[in-house]
């Protein structure tokens, strides 16, 4: 199974490439005033507004460094009801993919109190890589705000 690797702070995390639609260069985003922390704004992807989540900001409170290796990962996001939505994740050091057996990932043992999007870990020579569950990055509340069908009053 192929994973896309990136970093949050010093640690390495992976996303299932099946969910990844495209890796985009870092681009300017429209900020969303009053958005929860980690919500970096909206990017215009081929005319479609795609919410951008800064993973560094979300996890460490420090925005991702504005360098070339910081990229935007466009993931497909299973939407309740119709089709799939897109979600853009801004992460650092998006320069590598790794081939790992899904069975190599084991529970961390400290799930309690951890955010839902942090999955199991797999050990390798450089330490651990942790599986990020993209769909869990948005809480139900934010999901409802973002993907509320147009024309329906809240």
């Amino acid at each position: 199974m192929l994973f896309l690797m990136f970093r949050i702070g010093r640690d390495r995390y992976v996303l299932d490439v099946e969910q990844v639609e495209q890796v985009l260069p870092l681009m300017a985003a429209k900020s969303l005033p009053g958005a929860p922390p980690g919500m970096a704004g909206l990017i215009n992807y081929r005319g479609e507004p795609v919410p951008l989540i800064d993973l560094s900001q979300l996890a460490t409170g420090r925005p991702a460094a504005p360098v070339m290796s910081t990229r935007i990962i466009l993931v497909r996001y299973p939407a309740p009801g119709e089709g799939a939505h897109r979600l853009a994740l801004c992460a650092e050091q998006v320069i590598d993919t790794v081939q790992r057996d899904p069975d190599a990932f084991v529970a961390t043992g400290v799930e309690a109190g951890m955010p839902d999007w942090l999955g199991p870990v797999a050990a390798d020579a450089g330490g651990f890589v942790q599986w990020v569950r993209a769909p869990a990055l948005l809480t139900d509340e934010i999901r409802a705000i973002l993907f509320h069908p147009a024309g329906v009053e809240a």
Partner: protein, 214 residues
């Protein structure tokens, strides 16, 4: 003791791989040039408006992308959609009782046996003259695999330039009065690096090869 330490270090693939990874990291850890993010934001926003147009352009550009190669002294082009693979020339096994000019033999391309044909014989381009030229040519020779609908054949060319995408205005239809050499397959000419390339018609070429092989 020192030998043991040496063995230990040679076992490990890590030290060699790590500097390369670091180098990549350093290269990509450059600060963004001014206007970088804005430019990409504009690009991906614009692509939306032109999405239909872009797809159409991509459709058309497939036909307008050509593989440019040299056969003897002649530069020719073939629609890139037809080309499946370009590899090093490999030993060819001749076929008994096939002494025709067109079929040269069988080549093994990763376990698949393909018929190698002589494109020069087919389209009537002369063999290059002179041993010096021959030696120079051998260095650049490539085996091109073309095919469509599961029919695949290979032929040797003397040099491959690469892919060339031409504008619609660079294409010149060939006057019907020219009936010499490659012109029965070259249906049009394409301007390329200040000269005209004969653009071979893929369909005609494959049909002729099929007739020749059968």
């Amino acid at each position: 003791m020192s030998a043991g330490a040496g063995d230990g270090s040679s076992d490990r693939p890590g030290p060699a791989a790590a500097p390369r990874q670091e180098a990549v990291g350093r290269l990509l850890d450059r600060a963004l040039p001014p206007g970088y993010r804005e430019e990409w934001a504009r690009y991906f926003a614009q692509a939306a408006d032109a999405l239909g147009g872009e797809a159409a352009a991509r459709e058309g550009s497939g036909e307008r992308r050509l593989l440019v190669f040299r056969l003897a002294d002649e530069w020719l082009a073939l629609p890139a959609t037809l080309v499946q693979e370009i590899t090093e020339p490999r030993p060819r096994r001749s076929l008994p009782h096939r002494r025709g000019e067109l079929v040269l033999g069988i080549v093994n391309i990763r376990g698949e046996l393909l018929v190698e044909v002589s494109l020069a014989a087919l389209i009537g381009v002369g063999e290059p003259a002179g041993a010096a030229t021959q030696a120079r040519l051998a260095a650049f020779a490539r085996l091109v695999v073309i095919g469509r609908d599961g029919r695949r054949v290979a032929f040797r060319v003397d040099e491959v330039h690469g892919l060339h995408q031409h504008a619609a205005r660079d294409l010149v239809e060939l006057p019907a009065t020219i009936g010499k050499s490659a012109s029965s397959f070259a249906t049009s000419m394409v301007a390329w690096q200040g000269r005209m390339l004969g653009r071979l018609d893929g369909g005609l070429l494959l049909d002729a090869i099929d007739r020749g092989i059968a």
